[in-house]
Point group: C2
Chain length 295, copies 2
Amino acid sequence: MSRADHFTIGLLQHASPIGASREEVHTTFASMAREAAGRGAELIVSQELFGGHYFCQQEEAALLDLAEPIPGPTTQCAASLARELGVEITVSLFEKRAPGLCHNTSVYLGRDGSILGTYRKMHIPDDPRFFEKFYFAPGDRGWQVVDGVAKTGMLVCWDQWYPEAARLTALLGAELIVYPTAIGWYHGETPADRVQQRDAWITMHRAHAIANGCWIAAVNRIGVEADLTFWGSSMVIDPGGVIVAEAPQDAPAVLVHRCDRARIEEMRRGWPFLRDRRVDAYGGITERMLDGTSA
Amino acid sequence: MSRADHFTIGLLQHASPIGASREEVHTTFASMAREAAGRGAELIVSQELFGGHYFCQQEEAALLDLAEPIPGPTTQCAASLARELGVEITVSLFEKRAPGLCHNTSVYLGRDGSILGTYRKMHIPDDPRFFEKFYFAPGDRGWQVVDGVAKTGMLVCWDQWYPEAARLTALLGAELIVYPTAIGWYHGETPADRVQQRDAWITMHRAHAIANGCWIAAVNRIGVEADLTFWGSSMVIDPGGVIVAEAPQDAPAVLVHRCDRARIEEMRRGWPFLRDRRVDAYGGITERMLDGTSA
């Protein structure tokens, strides 16, 4: 089957407020998904843990009750929408894999509602107000590309800071890498710190696009939840590092963008970085730190 | 010996025009180095192949006559300046290692004029007007950090597009990574392409600083040489990805900046990326491309 010369993605940015039920948030999501599909989206991408508030601001064992199996309520909601709209959907959810063993997981559903791929977040943060290591075991399925409307790499949030993750996903053939995200500011941070943090976040995504010559999509939530204000700013970046679609910092958005495959070829011909990689000299990447003065 | 709480670097951005002799350019360099030292620079960094025009716009065997041994005219010039000014200096030069075997090499000289480190450019480009694979054998000394006034990683130009190079250098303990550079626009490129290219170049450097929590310095040349206009824009970037000093696109500049060590600790505590690397899952980085849909 020959591929179209483009694929169209739809990113759904919204609030998932404290106190809203999963069903309420799913209703919002479904409404936005219908809008995205109506505007031509073939792949719809959720934000991280989109079905409820960001519960990792505290360590509380009772919150493990929020975890769900796969298949479960979230994948059933997404599968139903995929069939209704004839689109592919990736959803991010809190996966209960076994008693006491949970993951931060993305599931990719095909047009018929079947599961085409699953990715478990590989890099897990742990900072005040982002106590993710308490809730999520590190992913054990490695790097994943799903062969849907695009070859789609499935990274999640904290992975965004790791060039290794983007590179490995690109080496698997990703034309697009999606990053469902939940990132925001702590109320105590200075305005200068806020600018620096959001700008650094944007810069890393742009660098992944440039270094790997592929499309990047980041989907972040909005809204105030306890001590955090999530900064939205969901975006689509082309393989040259140019932000071609961007959502506001504080309002819901259905961001639909048509991604031309030719732009990948064009950038990789102009700047053939993959050709010149020194694969003979990268072995040290698997070390935590290197001793001495050369490697 | 305890280290100072900061180190001060001086980047020398200038033209190295076609037709200027090595001695003429060295005189310009010495004058700028004296200014940098007078303004407090402890480490002076040259642009790439600073001693003459960028000769790689054509493939011409006779141009191999421009290569020089180490030690040779360029390291002798730099050693003499280092002793005179009491500073450390890195210079980028066209190294003749053996008949028919040349490299694009950086040499780091200590205050007493001795050679503290040598790096041979690992990633070699080859594009129309940048025929570097004709002139330079790929580096065979790996990644290098010199323990001078700062722990200084020594990458060069095309290396800037490779997150692997910055990461490996940071894992060796680099507090600062310097990138002598010769990058510019071809006369035939559109204004939009020019903006995209320079912006991508800046973005990659900023991403290296963010991902690795270290200082970055890029030193580029200016001026028109045959089909290329070099875009200057030499810059210093802090470990948070903020550009803290920046030179113009089309004028010489002596860029002196005091780099606080505490900023490294501050950024790495706030965003402890090195802590969470999945070193167990990065093995595929040493492959050219990966087959299948997961790795």
